[in-house]
């Protein structure tokens, strides 16, 4: 009966299951918390839900799953400190660490274009472009100095949102996937009969290049890669 009612009010059931998951998490029963959160996800997505689910996965030692959910939470709320911290923490916790040392200048630029979320950048970009078009139209008709200055300024803001949007879309379209099992073997071809070439651990991030016969051809950040079974990795977006 209760479940029936829950199905009717999706937003309510999302909230109830989310709070139930929080209760389990507080008790240290992370597996039950994961079950509640996963159930809640069927009713809709939410940044806090993604974040808490990532935490529950992390606490039950499933780093790959945790990283996936922190990534998803970050897509919805890129300015949330906890999400960014936990994503970084989980990534540092992995067995296969990124050895690449990032340039601080590059990190600053990357942070600048991750300030607004995918959705925000699209909506704000559109609104700014509308205001820009009004001012630009006024400039074309009246040819005053102020209108062109405001137009250029608005266009720069619009351009910022455009880049932010493109950065997010490229991240989504990159087909980033995360290994979600403790250890997985990569083969030189799509099948177990091929030569084993790599052992990849939980939480390793890779790009999916191709899918064939239930195998993904993945590429790790260093450029190396191999074929692994589709159930062992999960695409982030």
């Amino acid at each position: 009966m209760i479940i029936f009612l829950l199905l009717i009010f999706t937003s309510d059931s999302l909230t109830i299951l989310y709070n139930e998951g929080n209760k389990f998490y507080a008790q240290g029963d992370y597996l039950s918390a994961i079950a509640s959160y996963e159930q809640a996800l069927k009713f809709g997505i939410n940044k806090n839900l993604y974040y808490n689910l990532g935490n529950a996965y992390f606490k039950s030692n499933r780093i790959g799953k945790a990283i996936i959910y922190f990534y998803r939470a970050r897509l919805l709320s890129p300015r949330d400190r906890d999400t960014n911290y936990n994503l970084k923490f989980a990534r540092n916790y992995r067995a296969d660490k990124d050895i690449t040392i990032q340039n601080p200048f590059f990190i600053a630029i990357s942070n600048l274009f991750h300030y607004f979320s995918y959705r925000e950048s699209w909506i704000l970009g559109t609104i700014v472009f509308l205001i820009f078009s009004v001012f630009f139209a006024l400039f074309i008709i009246y040819r005053t100095k102020y209108t062109i200055i405001i137009s250029i300024f608005l266009f720069i803001i619009f351009f910022y949102f455009l880049i932010t949007y493109l950065v997010w879309s490229s991240e989504i379209n990159r087909k980033l996937a995360v290994v979600v099992v403790p250890e997985v073997k990569a083969y030189s071809g799509p099948g177990e009969e091929y030569k084993e070439i790599l052992i990849i651990h939980d939480g390793a991030e890779a790009r999916i290049l191709e899918e064939r016969n239930g195998y993904y051809l993945i590429q790790l950040p260093g450029g190396i890669g191999g074929w692994i079974k589709t159930e062992n990795v999960e695409p982030v977006f």
Partner: protein, 588 residues
């Protein structure tokens, strides 16, 4: 998990000895060689190292009955290293003893001892083998001195101090001369004076005796300088310089024909003790910054770098140079430098001898670790010394220095001050419960693309509007054409008024004017001044069907005829004619 704990415990047990070891002193003794010739010297190095050992006492040497202690000195070095952002400091003090053996054989240097913070540390014993000196020629067996004359009168060692009365810390030179009337060989220094109460520095030491003639107490001697030593008294009062002992072989000239080669005899001679009167430094007017220096000094200070990144130490190098008891100068008292940590200095001496005067410099290298970012100013450093010539204290000081710190390490500061300890890190806690969790969307709303259409429409419209406004200004024909419609509509209203009043004459006349003015506006001609035929020509240039033109001409003709030649026309005809005219205008 249990296995993990055990594993961690095992690692701790493995590491434990090293950790305990590093917290204590390291105390070692070594010699520069284990086989020594008789009459040669060797050095015994006793070094103490550890963290923060500034108050360590001098080690107690074992009894060395078989060796002479010729000199002692000490040096200090500090080694600072950063590992994972934590600083570790290691200071090593080395005490160097110069020893010479007294006899041939195998001897053992017992263990040196040091008491530090309630613990006694001991070094290992060292075995020394003393052999016959490689440079020493086998001496002929000792024979009793011939009864003729005293050999001791003919050979002697005399110690000559440069002065008998000095201030504490002032330099005096003591020269040891060998006086001889005979031919001698195999000169060996067997005992150097102890020089207790002095810091001594060798100024001159002969490798090869060079003699000159000198008359002493009425006899002619050959005199050679053996050694000159600079002494700096450490304490005041009457200090005694012990005798120096020498063994040598005297070759006496042959006394008769059969004593062809003469006789050779080995004997040991010693100088006389000298007493030196050491005056204490005056107590009155002694400045607080007095550093123990006696002589004539200058001071300079510099920093090895201007900027400190990530909490790296900046070295402040204070250099005191000049003449005097450099090695007895204590580290200068640094003024307080706020927000920094100053570590124990590393001391480096550079001592030279010129014209029998000890000169050089003593460098104190203070590592300064900034605790906060920003500019740090090192105030002037003041040092006072005693000038024995002027018999007063003099003050010298350095210039102000400054450096800039950025990115200072905060983690060690936190762990060192107070009780805050970082035990570990974890992920941030989950987000709180919610009363109503909203369903969010990952993908942006695509329908907003319509706004872009609107925007482009606005910009496009503005382009057309701008072009239109420009033509209205510049193109008269265009302006007339655009306005023709509204003018015509106004005129037609007048016509309609006449139609309602059924005023046929005015109706036709107004309608005619309206059509002609409209045509004039449309085709930018002065229509009212033209005849119908001319008008027809003008209009036919425009792309208008023949039939329409003909119709138009007919209407105009009717208007003219009826307006000026009154005829009987019914209201129904008027309405029909009006409709026909409007239809015509619309077609143009």
């Amino acid at each position: 998990m249990k296995i993990n704990h055990k594993f961690q415990l095992a690692i701790w047990l493995l590491l434990a000895p090293f950790i305990i070891f590093s917290a204590e002193l390291e105390f070692t003794a070594s010699v520069d060689r284990t086989t020594v010739g008789l009459g040669e010297t060797f050095t015994l190095n006793v070094s103490v190292s550890g963290e923060n050992i500034s108050g360590v006492p001098s080690p107690k040497l074992p009894d060395l009955p078989d060796f002479n202690i010729l000199g002692r000195s000490s040096s200090q070095s500090t080694n600072i290293s950063f590992i994972n952002g934590r600083m570790s400091q290691k200071t090593t003090i080395t005490f160097v003893y110069t020893l010479s053996p007294k006899k041939i054989g195998k001897f053992t240097i017992g263990s040196c001892k040091i008491d530090y913070q309630g613990k006694t540390y001991e070094t290992q014993e060292i075995e020394i083998e003393v052999v016959k000196s490689a440079t020493q020629k086998p001496s002929s067996p000792a024979t009793p001195p011939p009864s003729g004359g005293s050999l001791e009168d003919g050979v002697m060692v005399i110690a000559v101090p440069s002065r008998r009365e000095v201030y504490q810390g002032e330099q005096i030179n003591v020269s040891f001369y060998l006086y001889t009337r005979y031919e001698i060989e195999n000169v060996n220094l067997t005992k150097m004076p102890n020089f207790s109460g002095f810091w001594c520095e060798t100024i001159y030491e002969t490798n090869r005796l060079s003699y000159h003639r000198k008359v002493y107490e009425g006899k002619t001697y050959y005199v050679a300088l053996i050694k000159t030593i600079a002494l700096f008294p450490i304490t005041s009062g009457t200090l005694v310089i012990d005798p120096m002992e020498i063994t040598l072989t005297v070759i006496r000239p042959p006394r008769d024909f059969f004593d062809f080669f003469g006789t050779a005899q080995t004997l040991s001679i010693a100088s006389k003790s000298i007493s030196i009167n050491v005056l204490p430094l005056p107590q009155e007017n002694r400045p607080e910054d007095f550093c123990g220096g006696v002589g004539n000094f200058t001071i300079s200070a510099r920093l090895d770098r201007d900027t400190s990144l990530q909490g790296e130490p900046v070295n402040l190098i204070v250099k005191i140079g000049g003449r005097g008891n450099l090695r007895l100068i204590e580290k200068p008292k640094l003024p307080a430098i706020p927000n920094t940590r100053i570590l124990e200095p590393e001391i480096k001496d550079n001592i030279q001898v010129s014209n029998d005067v000890i000169k050089g410099s003593r460098e104190f290298r203070f590592p300064i670790i900034p605790q906060v970012d920003g500019e740090h100013i090192i105030p002037e450093i003041r040092v006072a010394y005693f000038n024995p010539k002027m018999k007063n204290y003099e003050l010298i000081k350095t210039e102000k220095l400054h450096f800039v710190a950025a990115g200072t390490v905060r983690a060690p500061a936190v762990s060192e001050t107070g009780g805050l300890k970082v035990l570990g890190t974890d992920i941030c806690y989950i987000k709180p419960d919610s009363k109503n969790l909203s369903v969010e969307k990952m993908v942006p709303p695509r329908y907003l693309s319509l706004i872009y259409l609107v925007s482009f429409f606005i910009i496009g419209f503005s382009f057309f509007y701008q072009r239109h406004q420009k033509r209205l200004l510049l193109d008269r024909a265009y302006a007339r054409k655009i306005r023709s419609g509204s003018v015509m509509r106004r005129n037609l209203k007048e016509v309609e008024n006449y139609l309602k009043k059924n005023d046929a004459k005015n109706f036709y006349s107004a309608l005619g004017r309206t059509i002609i003015s409209y045509l004039g506006d449309r085709f930018n001609i002065d229509a009212s001044a033209l005849t119908r035929e001319q008008l027809k020509e003008e209009i036919s240039r425009a792309n208008i069907p023949e039939e329409t033109i003909r119709d138009l001409m007919d209407v105009l003709y009717n208007c003219e005829v009826i307006a000026y030649a009154p005829a009987d026309t019914s209201g129904k005809n008027l309405l029909e004619f009006y409709k026909r005219a409007r239809d015509l205008i619309n077609r143009i």
